[in-house]
């Protein structure tokens, strides 16, 4: 009912579009035809501007007359076009990139003063040049680790690409690759992200005031767009790194009409280890590798229709052989996604995007010892359909509305085994199915020069459906009674409204004050009892036992730019509450096949803090300083004696400094420095002897703090002078991770040696650090 009322409130704006004309079209890179996301069209002499959408489409409506339209996008030469507006017009902008030494590279919003002008809070677009310039661990360019350098975002631990946003857990980030949800974002336990930088066009992070088009997660959205492929000519890019190599091929299948890109990346670790393991060794055959494949094809059917087909496939594979124990283990895991999108321009003011998505995450474990074999499988699989509309009724309003549907299949750890002729068919936890629905509407509304707001409402629903059998069991797990739910029959239905509201008030030309309130519901959850997220962690749905997570976020920010937007500054404060947070009960041991949800315990969380950001966006020297001061708490009746405790990602101080300097035509230097207060830790504080063994009893949850974390990384990019008429270009990236070799704590433990009976028993706290100083060199090339 409330939804209908809001729709009625927003739509009258449609009725007033008389004697006005619309100019609309796409904004593209003139060299390779890639559409440009969030490029700005402004009208000279007027306070009107609009940004292109995710597909590079824009539409602006003005009264009849002559105008000069200015299209700008960071890193590209500005383009101006005179328009006599007496009929509706279609106008595509082909933007030439600036290929000069003083090439601007901007971390913040791509529109020059968008951070001040937009109503949106906490949104940051990252350019790939920026991400590639930041020094990287082992030279592997990593989108997620660059994201971690932004205020309000912290890493999950040393070297980890997991992100925690404003006190939220790792499962509270909606990470999408071309609209497909990516459930596991890390290779090798998160040390490297799955996103191959060569295949990525744009990265956009929203950490607060989430627009209504997004949902299903509490904390943030990371929207990653793959390149479409050069539609003018063939291009090959690649790189040789210390641990992995990459290659991308892109080009037109039909010039200006159909283009493609295929990217691949693979590690060498297994090849290197093979050199050191003899064939006669009992470990021969053990190894590890990961690979990624990205592919995308797009077809411009007409000026009104365009289709995209894109996909990702990645796997980590771990083999372990111990000949003396007759043990063979094979563990592959990874994501796959496939996205089909159809853009249709219904008319000059209505842009539609239809999306169909398949995505999954699978974890397999196979082990054999002599004739005993077990196989374990877990995963999540989604089929989604989405319809979004962008409506530009007239200047001052940009309305977006749409609906989404996803069918989820959750496979818990399903184990099968056999020994010789004997098959083991254990009573595994059951596969669960669910429908997730959402519908939303939002209006980005400019109310005069001073006030701009984005008001939206999202309705979301989640329905656990059959086939499923609900059992009553005795404490040992023996089934006593059952209720059978047939295919599609509802076991439990949750739904709710999620209001989203942000407002900007201009305090002057370069200053604005913004506020936002948003509510989010999250119906699927990742519960981990480990110190870090693991490939074995399970995504679980909301069920009759597990309620949806729910959050409210309140944020207030002051944004001010200096020196013609060369310096962007902001201060944001926030308060966030989270209901129905999930942890494992005390004493949970991950070696059971029973329903994991029987081991869950539920509680609440809250987080508050302030984030400071200074960004220099132009000139030879660019970079930013981000600082966050924050507190994050959890309270569970069933944990820590019911008392409040700091969340494991509670970090009081978090500082990131990023500096990039274009030294000359050839050399570009960069440095990053990060400092973070020590992680919260649960340590043993009581000891006792049990059957002759010294046993450690842990403190209350996160009672202690590890030493602070800090690190300096450096990089230098050498681009040899490009010879005209030569199609081949290359660059060298030299990097040093942890330049002063700080021994940062990865974890600590209390080691014990000796026997209690002869006076030799010693206990010593030990800190394990994993990355000392690591120099790396990567060679990148391009053949155009």
């Amino acid at each position: 009912m409330r939804f209908a009322a809001l729709t009625l409130f927003l739509f009258p704006v449609l009725l007033f579009s008389q004697s006005r004309y619309t100019v609309s079209g796409y904004i593209k890179d003139s060299l390779n035809g890639e559409t440009l996301i969030s490029a700005t069209i402004s009208v000279q002499g007027m306070q009107k501007n609009i940004a292109s959408n995710q597909f590079g489409f824009y539409s602006i409506t003005l009264a009849q007359g002559n105008y000069k339209l200015i299209c700008s996008y960071t890193g590209y030469q500005q383009k101006e076009v005179e328009v006599a507006l007496n009929v509706d017009k279609q106008l595509n902008f082909e933007m030439p990139p600036k290929i000069t030494v003083t090439q601007e590279v901007v971390i913040s919003a791509k529109v020059k003063d968008a951070n001040v002008r937009n109503a949106q809070m906490g949104k940051i677009d990252l350019s790939m040049e920026q991400i590639k310039a930041v020094p990287a661990l082992l030279g592997e360019v990593d989108i997620l680790k660059t994201i971690q350098l932004l205020p309000g975002v912290r890493n999950a631990g040393e070297g980890s690409s997991g992100i925690y946003v404003r006190g939220g857990g790792p499962d509270q980030n909606l990470i999408m690759l071309d609209d497909a949800v990516v459930y596991n974002t890390g290779h090798l336990f998160g040390f490297f992200s799955i996103f191959n930088s060569d295949a990525i066009k744009n990265v956009s992070l929203i950490k607060g005031g989430m627009p209504a088009q997004y949902g299903g997660r509490l904390s943030s959205v990371l929207d990653i767009t793959m390149k479409e492929g050069n539609d003018k000519k063939m291009q090959v890019d690649g790189g040789l790194g210390l641990i992995a190599s990459r290659i991308s091929i892109q080009g037109p299948i039909k010039k200006n009409k159909v283009s493609f890109i295929v990217s691949a990346r693979r590690t060498y670790v297994d090849g290197l280890t093979k050199l050191f393991v003899k064939k006669s060794s009992q470990f021969y055959g053990s190894g590890y590798y990961f690979y990624d494949l990205n592919a995308k094809v797009n077809y411009k059917i007409s000026s009104k229709d365009r289709i995209y087909l894109s996909g990702y496939f990645g796997r980590d594979v771990f083999d372990f052989v111990n000949g003396r124990q007759s043990l063979r283990v094979n563990i592959p895991w990874g994501n796959s996604t496939a996205t089909f999108r159809w853009n249709h321009v219904f008319n000059k003011k209505l842009f539609g995007n239809t999306t169909l998505v398949y995505n999954d995450y699978k974890f397999n474990f196979g082990a054999a010892q002599n004739d005993f074999e077990i196989k374990l499988f877990s995963g999540i699989k989604d089929f989604s359909a989405k319809q979004d509309f962008d409506l530009y009724p007239f200047t001052g309003h940009k309305i977006r509305f749409g609906a989404q549907y996803t069918f989820h299949t959750f496979t818990p750890s399903v184990l099968t085994g056999k020994q010789g002729d004997t098959e083991f068919n254990p009573q595994n936890a059951q596969v669960k199915h669910a429908n997730e629905y959402a519908a939303y509407i939002q209006d980005d509304w400019t109310i005069g020069d001073k006030i701009k707001m984005n008001a939206g409402l999202r309705w979301s629903g989640f329905q656990q459906v059959g086939p499923y059998t609900l059992y009553t069991k005795d404490p040992n797990g023996n089934k006593l009674d059952s209720t059978v739910y047939g295919k599609g029959r509802t076991l439990k239905f949750y739904n709710g409204l999620e209001p989203r509201f942000t407002i900007r008030y201009a305090l002057g030309e370069n200053t604005s004050l913004k506020g936002s309130i948003s509510q989010n519901n999250q119906y699927i959850h990742l519960v981990s009892n480990a110190g870090t997220t693991l490939p074995t962690d399970l995504w679980v749905p909301s069920t009759y036992k597990v309620k949806p997570q729910q959050s409210w976020l309140y944020a207030l920010g002051l944004f001010k730019n200096y020196k013609e937007n060369m310096y962007e500054t902001s201060v944001e404060v926030y308060y966030k509450t989270m209901k129905n947070q999930i942890e494992y009960k005390e004493g949970y041991v991950p070696n059971t096949l029973e329903e994991t949800e029987d081991y869950f315990t539920f509680g609440k969380g809250w987080s508050y803090g302030a984030e400071f950001f200074v960004n220099k966006s132009r000139g030879r020297l660019t970079g930013w300083i981000g600082y966050s001061l924050s507190w994050t708490w959890r309270k569970f009746d069933g944990l820590n004696f019911g008392d409040t405790y700091p969340a494991k990602y509670d970090r009081r101080n978090d500082l990131s400094v990023v500096v990039m300097h274009q030294l000359s035509n050839k050399w570009k230097l960069a440095a990053t420095f990060v400092y973070g207060s020590g992680n919260a830790a649960t340590l043993p504080e009581r000891f006792y002897i049990y059957q002759g063994v010294l046993t450690q009893e842990y403190s209350r949850i996160n009672e202690y703090r590890l030493p602070a974390y800090h690190r300096l990384d450096l990089s230098a990019i050498l681009t040899p002078k490009h010879k005209p008429n030569k199609k081949f270009t290359s660059e060298w990236v030299f990097s040093i991770y942890n330049a002063y070799s700080r021994k940062n704590p990865y974890f600590v433990y209390f080691d014990q040696t000796g026997s209690p009976y002869d006076g030799t028993l010693k206990v010593q706290a030990k800190q394990v650090s994993i990355f000392p100083i690591i120099p790396a060199v990567t060679w990148n090339f391009k053949f155009l």
Binding site: F320, I331, G587, E697, K743, Y746, K762
Partner: protein, 294 residues
């Protein structure tokens, strides 16, 4: 699953560049609590070890251990019909080191009893005017080692090493929890590193397993020494246990394993003693089988 984690961890540490250093923490001093190690086995007397926990000490001396035993405590065990007050004894284990425990009072055998199958026992301890209680069951002898045999250790250049296998049968229905121990020659029984198992995977089947020798956690051997030898007399003891005893040992062993493993979060040991005491009261329905390896 925890095995997978350990495996993944080993891999990570090999691939990465880990290094360790000593670090000092100012750990809080926390009040000592009572630690109860109570058990009863079929045809055996109830045995209760009582001690106190202590705070962090870098060096744990035999003197500290000796002073951690709790003396002159009222300990009662009941089988539903008889309630017997246990008496404190001590034995010398190694020179200069005594172990104290409570068991059947030989001066009052009228109320004494030995453990029998399918019986639930209650434990009541009164220490410093606080009452601690617990109960456990000696289940039936549902699972036994049916047969043992040995094979040469595969792919091992040391032909003296052998592996021992057991065949056993699990009755239909979940809940047949077991704990196993091995004894080599005249050594004491040692529990396996993962000594407890449920029957979720093998429910209702006959199965064969390689027996991993039990370990002395104070003197851990490397995997390379995880074998039996020609000339050994090997005894496998299999104890049927109830769910709470299984949970106690399962969480205890996970706790030992989590030390030094970043992929396992600190784990709470789930005991079954009331009023905040640590430890558990465990009942065991045991049987054993021996093989002589020529």
């Amino acid at each position: 699953m925890q095995k997978i984690r350990s495996l993944l961890y080993v891999l990570t540490m090999i691939i990465l560049f880990s290094c360790e250093k000593k670090i000092d923490f100012d750990l809080k001093s926390v009040p000592e609590v009572l630690v109860v190690d109570a058990s009863i086995e079929n045809s055996g007397p109830p045995i209760v070890f009582l001690s106190k926990s202590f705070s962090y000490f870098a060096q744990i001396s035999p003197g500290l251990l000796d002073s951690s035993f709790v003396h002159n405590v009222d300990v009662f065990v009941s089988n539903g019909t008889l309630t017997h007050k246990l008496r404190e004894y001590s034995i010398d284990t190694i020179p200069g080191y005594k172990v104290y425990f409570y068991s059947i009072d030989t001066a009052n055998l009228g109320t004494a009893f030995l453990g029998s199958f399918n019986t639930t026992y209650n434990l009541r301890i009164v220490y410093n005017s606080i009452e601690y209680t617990s109960n456990t069951t000696i289940p039936s002898l549902a699972k036994k080692p049916d047969s043992l045999w040995w094979k040469p250790a595969p792919m091992n250049p040391d032909t003296n090493k052998v592996v021992v296998w057991v065949k056993s049968h699990d009755p239909v229905g979940l809940g047949n929890y077991v704990r196993y121990y091995t004894r080599r020659n005249s050594e004491p029984y040692l529990p396996g590193e993962h000594s407890v198992f449920d029957d979720q995977v093998i429910d209702g089947t006959s199965y064969e397993l390689q027996i991993i020798p039990g370990i002395d956690r104070n003197n851990k051997l490397s995997d390379e020494d995880n074998f039996f030898y020609h000339g050994d007399t090997v005894t496998l003891k299999l104890s049927n246990i109830d769910r709470s005893t299984y949970n106690f040992w399962n969480t205890m062993e996970f706790n030992y394993e989590s030390v030094g493993n970043p992929f396992a979060s600190p784990n709470k040991v789930i005991g079954n003693i009331s009023n905040g005491a640590l430890g558990a009261f465990c009942g065991y329905a045991s049987s054993a089988k021996t093989i002589i390896i020529p």
